[in-house]
């Protein structure tokens, strides 16, 4: 196999990896926000349910979660799961990453000094206004570095989709490696991840600088 063909194949696979990455990010960040609020809820029932959810998502392997999300409907309810593979991957990744994002958001929100809430109250801000106009903009700045961490991990975690026989970039690299009996495709796969992560890190860095409006 020529190097050009290999690069073309791996690029096509990388598009699939990136689609998993993008959909997961779009879904898991808002979901993570909701989970964070649930976790901080004064309602004991809600906060305990969310605690268990986060505990399971963080405490079990993502690969197993993907298998459960994909094959679960068939094993438990006998449903036909033809065509459900890609949605299952996105759902699996999104609910897992939401748990991690939720804890990052919670740490950001809880790091805000109580005095700011009191000052806002004195100035006549409603609870919603206080959160949207005072707390959230500061939280966004504060949580950006750990969110970048998670995002970069997510890029590499997309390779776990192979557990559901989804041929994203790294699965393709492994198939080419098997047919050509060489490790070279795996290294090229590594370069693909690195380049993409480099871009992700630069973008996050740019956003961080944009948000640094008080310096």
């Amino acid at each position: 196999m020529s190097i050009m063909v290999m690069l073309k194949l791996l690029s096509a696979g990388m598009l699939k990896s990136i689609s998993i990455f993008a959909f997961t990010l779009i879904l898991s960040i808002p979901l993570g926000m909701l989970v964070a609020f649930g976790r901080m809820s004064k309602n004991k029932v809600i906060s305990n349910i969310i605690k268990i959810y986060i505990s399971i998502m963080r405490g079990t392997p993502l690969m197993l979660q993907l298998l459960v999300v994909y094959f679960g409907p068939n094993l438990l309810f006998g449903m036909n799961i033809a065509g459900y593979k890609y949605p299952a991957i996105i759902i699996g990744f999104a609910i897992n990453y939401a748990a991690y994002f939720a804890e990052i958001f919670r740490s950001g929100i809880q790091s805000m000094p109580q005095g700011q809430y009191e000052a806002a109250d004195v100035l006549g801000y409603s609870k919603r206004q206080t959160f949207m106009k005072i707390i959230l903009p500061q939280v966004a700045k504060r949580v950006l570095p750990p969110v970048t961490n998670e995002t970069i991990t997510l890029v590499k975690d997309t390779s776990l989709a192979y557990a559901l026989s989804y041929t994203e970039m790294f699965t393709l690299a492994k198939q080419i490696a098997a047919a050509q009996t060489t490790f070279a495709p795996l290294f090229i796969g590594g370069i693909f991840y690195y380049v993409f992560n480099f871009v992700v890190a630069e973008v996050m860095n740019f956003i961080e600088r944009k948000m640094d409006y008080y310096k």
Binding site: V5, L27, L75, Y84, I91, S165, K174, Q175, A178
Partner: protein
């Protein structure tokens, strides 16, 4: 506020459309009008199923499956599967059959099988000059075997070669052949127990340095595996295999993939 509602609504729509994909596609097992034939295979299993130099999935088994589809007027769908999840893929209807150097022996009751079409022995590959010439020499050695493979069941089955397997120093399971051969070449493994067809492909492709022991672990056969009870589809494939053997298609393909001496159809 409006923007936020819109954003949430869009997210919901996205999730719902993803679910909408479920169940809209019919599996082809019903038997009324079959139009597609969805073959599950391990794309890391040359020469039976793998990716060729142009990036297309090919191999002996896939080409025979294509010939069957040409006969029946079906569309062949090649679905590379994660070998560890093959049963879930088959039983959930995601694929119609497993057709990829799939060993019958030891799995007789787990699938509805086609006629055996290919003879396949389990053999042992060692590094040249390692001083291992017979199976008895393997006592106390570290032997590698692919996870969930036929070789593994041979070496752990009471009625097969469990005694031999127990004589090994260690039976290590690996995921793919590149890693296994790299370990063998580096001395981290003393021997590999694998299918003869795969062993020949690997040795051809890697050149010098490895030998196949003359003594085989056992003799086995490959078949096409269908979901238990799916005899309707099985009978169609069986008839087509005989037809394709009679008109020489299968022999020609076997010669192309250098496994002609292993075909056992029409016997």
């Amino acid at each position: 506020m409006k923007k936020k509602i819109l954003a949430v609504a869009l997210c919901l729509v996205m999730v719902l459309t993803m679910f909408a994909g479920c169940g809209s596609k019919d599996a082809t097992t019903g038997g009324d009008t079959i139009t597609t034939f969805n073959v599950g295979f391990d794309a890391e299993y040359p020469p039976f199923g793998y990716m060729d130099d142009n990036g297309d999935y090919t191999g002996f088994d896939l080409e025979v499956a294509q010939a069957v589809c040409d006969l029946e007027g079906w569309e062949l769908i090649k679905t590379p599967i994660n070998w560890d999840a093959k049963d879930q893929e088959l039983n959930s209807g995601a694929i119609d059959c497993i057709w990829n150097g799939f060993t019958i022996n030891g799995r007789e009751d787990s699938y509805t099988w086609s006629v055996p079409y290919c003879d396949n022995s389990q053999v042992v590959v060692v590094a040249e000059g390692a001083g291992i010439a017979t199976l008895a020499d393997l006592a106390g050695k570290k032997v590698g075997v692919q996870a969930a493979s036929a070789a593994l069941s041979v070496l752990t089955d009471e009625e097969a070669q469990k005694e031999l397997g127990d004589s090994f120093g260690e039976l290590a399971q690996f995921g793919d052949y590149n890693a296994a051969f790299a370990e063998l070449a580096a001395g981290a493994l003393d021997a590999l127990a694998i299918d003869i067809g795969v062993a020949k492909y690997q040795l051809n492709s890697r050149g010098e340095g490895f030998v196949i022991l003359d003594e085989h672990l056992n003799a086995e056969q490959y078949g096409v595996g269908f979901k238990l009870g799916n005899e309707e589809l099985r009978d169609i494939i069986n008839a087509d295999l005989e037809k394709l053997y009679a008109d020489g298609t299968i022999t020609a393909l076997a010669e192309k993939y250098e496994i002609a001496d292993m075909i056992i159809l029409g016997a």
